[in-house]
């Protein structure tokens, strides 16, 4: 499989990245090199193999649902680029 420059632009947008024409071209070449390299996985028959998403044999880890102190508001906002009235401030979502 190979990836076109248009697909690279689309994937960049999904990842919330904006690419210049020059960047898109460079990434298209590099991503195609990498995708061509990973093709080698298809040499292996994995029909009957279970996937590994995690190495430890663990189930869901649960705890009691108890009321505990949560993060204080001023701490939560301490790194906010912009804030207003105790909330994170962002640019308009709609025009």
């Amino acid at each position: 499989m190979s990836i076109s420059k248009e697909q690279v632009q689309k994937v960049a947008m999904l990842g919330r990245l904006k690419l210049s024409e020059e960047e898109a071209e460079q990434y298209t070449t590099q991503l195609n090199d990498i995708l061509q390299f990973v093709e080698k996985l298809n040499e292996l028959d994995t029909e009957a193999v279970e996937p590994t998403s995690h190495v430890l044999p663990m189930q869901n880890v649960l705890r009691e649902d108890e009321v505990r102190p949560s993060l204080e508001r001023d701490k939560a906002l301490a790194n906010a680029p912009e804030q207003q009235d105790g909330m994170f401030r962002v640019p308009a979502v709609f025009e």
């Binding site: 499989m1 990836i3 697909q7 690279v8 994937v11 960049a12 999904l14 990842g15 919330r16 990245l17 904006k18 690419l19 960047e23 990434y27 590099q30 991503l31 090199d33 990498i34 390299f37 990973v38 080698k40 996985l41 298809n42 040499e43 292996l44 994995t46 193999v49 279970e50 996937p51 590994t52 998403s53 995690h54 190495v55 430890l56 663990m58 880890v61 705890r63 993060l71 701490k75 939560a76 301490a78 790194n79 906010a80 680029p81 912009e82 994170f88 962002v90 640019p91 308009a92 979502v93 709609f94 025009e95």
Partner: protein, 488 residues
């Protein structure tokens, strides 16, 4: 010679007789940083004031007490992806240039409990993505053995700072080799613990199923001390394992008679530099002379590990890095509307390797490609795990080189991601299987350090440390790195 090169036992002895204070140790560290870090550039931030304050508090506390913490008074550097409350934590990314964590990583609290002193934050490849520290969003770090070469990565600052004697030890993180490879390149010891041995709480996530924090030290004994201090289950990290932490120090017996050592033929084959191979073969011979039983084995799926890793790690990274949206923290870049602000913040904030991996991961997870790429890679991950399981049914450890080459030149691989990725070929399988492994210096090839990698069974760091320590006892120590003529 800096007293930061003395053994931990010697330092502890002199601390308890008050011949030495925590403040002396910190001043020694700060003086060495002032002397050499202009050349090495291992640090992103030196916290002189904070370090002096921590040391003064320890000295006050010790005035009326003879008990000293496990890492009492030792000046440490932390990779800059470990959250430190009130001390900037950037992950070497412009996007987090101003990020001041409101909490400590669990390991940072544990080091404080052990009475260690944090002197600063160390350089790395941005978000731990890279193998040379050239991907830092701020500046490269230079190898103390040859300033025209890379220190390795992504924990390049951690390895270089230890090699240059700027700190007593450092913490790094290892997702595909990021502790072991720079340790090998800089001639220090680097240990990646078993996945789940050390809490990841407060480690900025790169690939959550692979990341693990570990020590970089001058010798194996120090690595055992630091591992002892940072190990253990943590309620704040549900993937930290509920297993007992053994006494790692008592594992350092010097005796490896009868131990079964496997050497995978895939790790000693084509693509490994002659100089590296020669040093590693000599090391294996030494293990045999010390009474270990050495046999050749096969890890037949090794050749597929890099391909599987470069789908799995970017896939996890693309999810993890979605949080950097310029809303709650980080450096925001203005935009016309919300979407535009996201795009500007991320496009200007992330460097090119990070963008490359976000795109690769997004692609591998996207509809229509998930089965072909991500699921396939996870299945191959199973085959790689099973290779190790088969060998470990009959052997205690697996040994081979840590890296195919010694440290390469700055700029040599920077425009060729695939060549850079192949540098991890010997370390990546270990992360995919979640196993513990150490890199220990085993000599020089053309003046540059070579690392011997020792891989163990899950949660058997004790045996890994035992073999590494026994080998170290029988091996001539590396000289102090030349540092362009300045004494390290």
């Amino acid at each position: 010679m800096s007293l930061l090169r003395d053994s931990l036992k010697e330092i502890h002895k002199r601390l308890s007789t008050r011949e030495l204070s925590a403040s002396d140790l910190v001043e020694e560290s700060l003086a060495q940083i002032a002397k050499v870090d202009g050349d090495v550039r291992a640090f992103l931030k030196v916290d002189e004031e904070g370090a002096r304050k921590q040391a003064a508090e320890l000295d006050k506390k010790w005035a009326n007490s003879s008990t000293r913490g496990l890492l009492g008074g030792l000046p440490a550097g932390l990779k800059d992806n470990l959250c430190t409350e009130g001390l900037t934590t950037t992950c070497a990314s412009q996007l987090l240039a101003n990020y001041n964590p409101i909490y400590n990583a669990t390991v940072v609290d544990k080091l404080a409990e052990a009475e260690s002193v944090t002197v600063g934050k160390l350089n790395m490849d941005e978000f731990a993505m890279g193998g040379s520290t050239e991907n830092s969003g701020f500046h490269p770090t230079y190898n103390p053995w040859d300033l025209s070469r890379v220190p390795g990565g992504s924990s390049g600052g951690s390895a270089a700072a230890v090699a240059a004697g700027e700190v007593y030890y450092a913490l790094g993180s290892d997702t595909g080799g990021s502790i072991r490879q720079p340790a090998a390149f800089c001639g220090v010891v680097g240990l990646k613990p078993t996945y789940g041995r050390v809490s990841r709480y407060g480690l900025v996530a790169f690939a959550s199923s692979l990341d693990q924090i570990g020590p970089l030290t001058k010798n194996v004994e120090d690595a055992a001390y630091v591992l002892q201090a940072i190990s253990g289950h943590d309620a704040k990290d549900s993937t930290s394992a509920q297993v007992d932490v053994p006494d790692f120090l008592s594992a350092l017996t010097g005796d490896i008679k009868g131990l079964k050592v496997a050497v995978p033929k895939e790790m000693m084959g084509e693509g490994i530099d002659a100089g590296v191979k020669e040093r590693v073969q000599a090391a294996i011979k030494k293990l045999e002379q010390m009474g270990a039983v050495v046999e050749e084995v096969s890890l037949p799926h090794s050749d597929y590990a890099v391909a599987a890793y470069y789908l799995i790690a970017p896939a996890e990274a693309s999810s993890n890095l979605a949080r950097y949206d310029g809303v709650r923290y980080g450096v925001r870049k203005q935009g016309q509307n919300l979407l535009d602000m996201y795009l500007e913040t991320r496009s200007q904030g992330f460097g090119s390797e990070v963008k490359r991996r976000i795109m690769l991961g997004t692609y591998a997870l996207s509809s229509g490609y998930y089965d072909a790429y991500y699921l396939k890679a996870q299945k191959v991950r199973t085959l790689i795990r099973q290779d190790f399981e088969r060998v470990f049914a009959d052997y205690d450890v697996i040994v081979g080189p840590t890296t195919p080459t010694t440290a390469f030149k700055i700029g040599e691989n920077i425009n060729d991601p695939l060549t850079m990725y192949m540098n991890d070929i010997l370390t990546i399988p270990v992360n995919l299987a979640g196993l513990p492994a150490i890199s220990v210096p085993c000599g020089l090839a053309e003046g540059l350090p070579v690392g011997l990698q020792i891989i163990g069974k899950a949660f058997d760091e004790a045996t890994v440390l035992r073999v590494a320590h026994a080998f170290e006892q029988e091996t001539e120590r590396l000289p102090v790195p030349p540092l362009g003529g300045k004494q390290a």
